[in-house]
Amino acid sequence: MSGSAPRAMDGCLRDFQMHTSVFTLSYSPIDAAALRRGIEGLGIGAAVVFEGRVRDHNDGRIVLGLVYQAYAELAKAEGARIMDEARERFAIERAVCVHRTGELALGELAVWVGVCAAHRDAAFAACRYVIDEVKVRVPIWKREHYADGDAEWLHPAD
């Protein structure tokens, strides 16, 4: 595994007591197992993980693959704000989000969100908050390739 996500996680493991939140983009495949190790800890009773993956269909069309394009600098800044908000709003220990960029095959991880906390209420709420906010605020765009040869950018109406 290369990419910034595993490196960020190694940091979490080294400095165990550091309460932190991390948002990164990863051009290479997301290593969910490595990320999961980043939200373990002896004071942690609950961890909630959300994984978004590339589906083989969308809105009734057969999807063959997709590309995520990001405005990297702004995406990382806005993503970091979301993680900080999650830390402020919920009693969590750590929150991590990694969003993939580039070409993805079916079944690949598009986004991984992991939150750990003393109790499950906060872990569930914060994990949900992060993915909901990332989807509407972070400048990343998806282009789906369809079985009919078409391809298009998804720009949901605001």
């Binding site: 405005y71 702004l74 598009a110 986004v111 989807k135 765009w141 282009r143 720009h155 949901p156 605001d158």
Partner: protein, 79 residues
């Protein structure tokens, strides 16, 4: 003034470029967008877009400075 334009997603496809430096009399993103929309055939209305200046979200009437990096952002679809 010169602006560094960044294009993403459908606007990148329509402009046929990732980035470019443009010389413009526009002093705010609203006016600059109107110019670019005419040049590249973007949707002339901008209500669906957001603006970023120097990698931070900005208002449409933000006072642009020479050398600013400007991007017009279509609705996002990450996650």
């Amino acid at each position: 003034m010169n602006y560094q334009l960044l294009y993403f997603a459908s606007l990148r496809d329509a402009a046929g470029r990732v980035e470019e430096t443009v010389a413009s009399q526009a002093r705010d993103p609203r006016t600059l967008y109107t110019e670019l929309a005419a040049r590249y055939g973007f949707n002339p209305t901008n209500t669906h877009l957001r603006v970023a200046v120097n990698s931070a979200f900005a208002m449409w009437d933000h006072a642009l400075a020479d050398g600013d990096e400007v991007a017009f952002l279509p609705p996002v679809s990450g996650g």
